[in-house]
């Protein structure tokens, strides 16, 4: 006979599971997550499904409006720009320049920032504050100025954007990781673990890190959206990706000449940027509110 359940069973979900439950209860955050997955797929496989090469110029279809316009055609789904290049294809090719580049930069900055931040966070005294504050001064140079400096040294180009935005983002990671590691280190449970005989490495990895991941995750989402906006802004100012490149910011800059006659050449890449940043911010927001009860 099945035992009668007097009390309902109350499983306590693991923290990760609880975060997921709260996160997935928020439809906006979930929509953001789906959009990011879509963007990732497009970043990886976009060039394969693009109907045209990004540089293919079609002289018979200059400044063609998008297909829903009466004078648009379905072959050029989102219309063409002043050189007859298919905007849809350029967007797909641009995804891995703007979005993929942003991810790459953030991952690099994250790794470097994580190493420096956790080292300086675990250390005490002068060494720690030199490591932490050295990069604080870099933090005070806005990312665009940093980019200008890098461009002045190396000349414009997409690779230099990598360095410029990366140098601007790394200190943020260092700072937030340093602060949270340092803060956790002051707490009693760390002392308790030390009294149990844990060495520094164990304290760091098994005791402190589980409480710092949240900060890292949130900082990463913030950094990705900042990176996309920076890459696009540099492309727009002609300091990053150069003219024929289908980078989204550069596409806006290239469409600017015909802003009045062909606004779609500016609108569509702009919307693409807005869409991807919005998706990331939605996910970041959802994560933050899902993590909030655990952090407090």
């Amino acid at each position: 006979m099945q035992p009668v359940k007097v009390y309902q069973e109350d499983r306590i979900a693991s923290p990760a599971k609880r975060v997921w439950i709260t996160f997935s209860a928020n439809p906006f955050a979930l929509a953001g997550l789906w959009s990011i997955s879509l963007l990732l797929l497009l970043t990886l496989f976009g060039p394969m499904i693009a109907p045209f090469a990004p540089e293919t110029q079609d002289p018979r279809a200059l400044l063609l409006p998008p297909s829903w316009d009466p004078s648009g055609t379905v072959t050029h789904f989102l219309g063409t720009d002043d050189l007859g290049r298919d905007i849809f294809s350029r967007l797909l090719y641009g995804a891995h320049l703007t979005f993929g580049m942003a991810l790459l930069i953030v991952i690099t900055a994250l790794i470097i920032g994580f190493i420096i931040g956790s080292l300086s966070g675990m250390m005490r005294g002068l060494k720690s504050s030199i490591l932490a504050h050295l990069l604080d001064s870099l933090l005070s140079i806005p990312s665009l100025l940093m980019a200008i400096l890098v461009v002045a040294v190396m000349g414009p180009g997409l690779e230099n954007v990598f360095w410029a935005v990366g140098i601007a983002l790394t200190p943020q990671f260092v700072r937030s990781i340093h602060h949270s590691v340092h803060e956790e280190l002051q707490k009693e449970y760390v002392t308790a673990a030390r009294l149990d005989g844990a060495n520094s490495l164990q304290v760091f990895w098994y005791v402190i890190m589980p409480n710092v991941w949240e900060v890292v995750i949130i900082q990463t989402t913030l950094a990705i959206s900042a990176a996309i906006l920076d890459i696009a802004a540099l492309g727009f100012l002609n300091l990053g990706a150069q003219a024929p490149s289908p980078e989204w910011g550069a596409m806006v800059a290239q469409g600017m000449d015909n802003l009045l006659t062909a606004p779609w050449a500016v609108t569509i890449p702009g919307l693409a940027i807005l869409f991807s940043v919005l998706a990331i911010n939605l996910v970041g927001d959802g994560l933050r509110s899902a993590l909030a009860p655990i952090r407090n």
Binding site: H133, L134, D136, S137, L138, L139, S140, I141, P142, S143, L144, L145, I148, L149, V151, A152, V153, G155, A168, S225, A226, L229, D230, A232, A233, F236, L237, N238, L239, G249, V252, M256, L259, L260, P263, V266, T267, G270, I273, L274, V277, L278, I280, N281, L282, D285
Partner: protein, 343 residues
């Protein structure tokens, strides 16, 4: 308190020093002659060359060179501009006020609108109001500023024709720069067109200031909202309620002062991206400020202008962020608690 201020001053000096060091190192990497990168003189005569070598100690060890560089830069010698052959310091002085004017205007708009809306969002019981405000701010936070600026100028400037879309003032007005702030200068000017010039300057600043205000506005709204929600849960708010105070009094007297402290901190952290945005906005609206000056400097490979501009802006940001931190301590008696405990 004094020791604290001293520590902050120390931090300011150290950070600035590192920053100038970075700049010095970058100057060495510029793909041109060292003398040219340092002074902006393209083909120096022999006497000039000797002078430059003396000023920047180019014959000595790089440590000495850095000290000499520091001396030159801090004494106001930023070299001459390659394109205009004017002192960079002079040019900087003429473009800085315009940027200040724009930034102040944007900050005022952001704070005056952002704080009340943030409070409203935190107090509203309606799911719809809350969601709308959050959706708007999240979009504002995500929108690429150059694109937004383009569209605002397209709508308000071209389609509707309400507002001018470029420059600081109509070129027909001749305003003598007194303070450098166009809005103040037009009011101060004795010309009979002073008033209409002021109106014109005001119309010119609206679009760029609105565009620039979007980022700080969203940050202010969001951080005010979360801080207010946090504060309203505290015991002292309930204690104030139990004393029979009215909700509006509680918000104004107890909740808002406590909530604005973290908002101030967020504003300080935002300075860097605010400056980046300002550069782009100045470019789009041809605002004669540091940003457009710098960007045109990079287009023309004007190395002295780049150095001078970055130096000025970065120093300003370091100073402002430390100032905000100090203000944060002054306005927040709680952060003095640590100082109190260590006394």
């Amino acid at each position: 308190m004094f020791a604290y201020l001293l520590r902050r001053l120390n931090l300011f000096l150290a950070t600035s020093l590192v920053m100038i060091g970075v700049l010095f190192y970058a100057t060495g990497l510029f793909p041109v002659e060292r003398t040219y990168a340092l002074t902006g003189i393209h083909a120096p005569t022999t006497s000039q060359l000797i002078q430059i070598e003396q000023d920047y100690k180019l014959d000595k060890h790089s440590g000495w060179q850095f000290i000499a560089y520091l001396q030159q830069r801090l004494s106001g010698n930023l070299g001459i501009s390659v394109t205009s052959h004017q002192q960079v310091a002079e040019e900087l002085r003429s473009v800085l006020p315009a940027s200040f004017e724009l930034a102040t205007m944007a900050a005022i708009i952001a704070i005056c609108l952002g704080v009340p809306i943030g409070v409203l969002a935190s107090q509203s019981q309606h799911k719809l109001t809350q969601n709308t405000i959050m959706a708007i701010t999240l979009t504002g936070y995500s929108v690429p500023v150059f694109w937004l600026g383009l569209y605002l100028s397209l709508w308000f400037g071209v389609d509707l024709g309400w507002l001018p879309i470029s420059g600081q003032i109509n070129l027909l007005y001749e305003i003598k720069p007194i303070t450098g702030f166009m809005l103040v200068d037009t009011l101060l000017s004795k010309s009979e067109y002073g008033m209409s010039a002021f109106k014109d300057a005001l119309l010119h600043i609206i679009l760029p200031a609105m565009t620039l205000a979007v980022l700080p506005f969203t940050v202010v709204v969001r951080s005010t909202r979360s801080a207010m929600m946090n504060v309203m849960d505290q015991t002292y708010i309930r204690a104030a309620e139990a004393r029979g105070m009215h909700t509006s009094t509680i918000i104004l007297r107890h909740a808002l002062p406590n909530a604005l402290i973290p908002v101030l901190k967020h504003l300080g952290l935002m300075l860097g991206s605010f400056a980046s945005y300002a550069i782009v906005v100045e470019m789009i609206f041809s605002w004669p400020g540091v940003g457009s000056w710098l960007v045109s400097g990079i287009y023309q490979r004007d190395y002295t202008v780049i150095q001078g501009g970055i130096l000025a802006v970065a120093l300003l940001i370091i100073f402002l962020s430390i100032l905000i931190e100090v203000l944060h301590t002054v306005f927040n008696p709680l952060s003095r608690k640590d100082l109190y405990a260590t006394r």
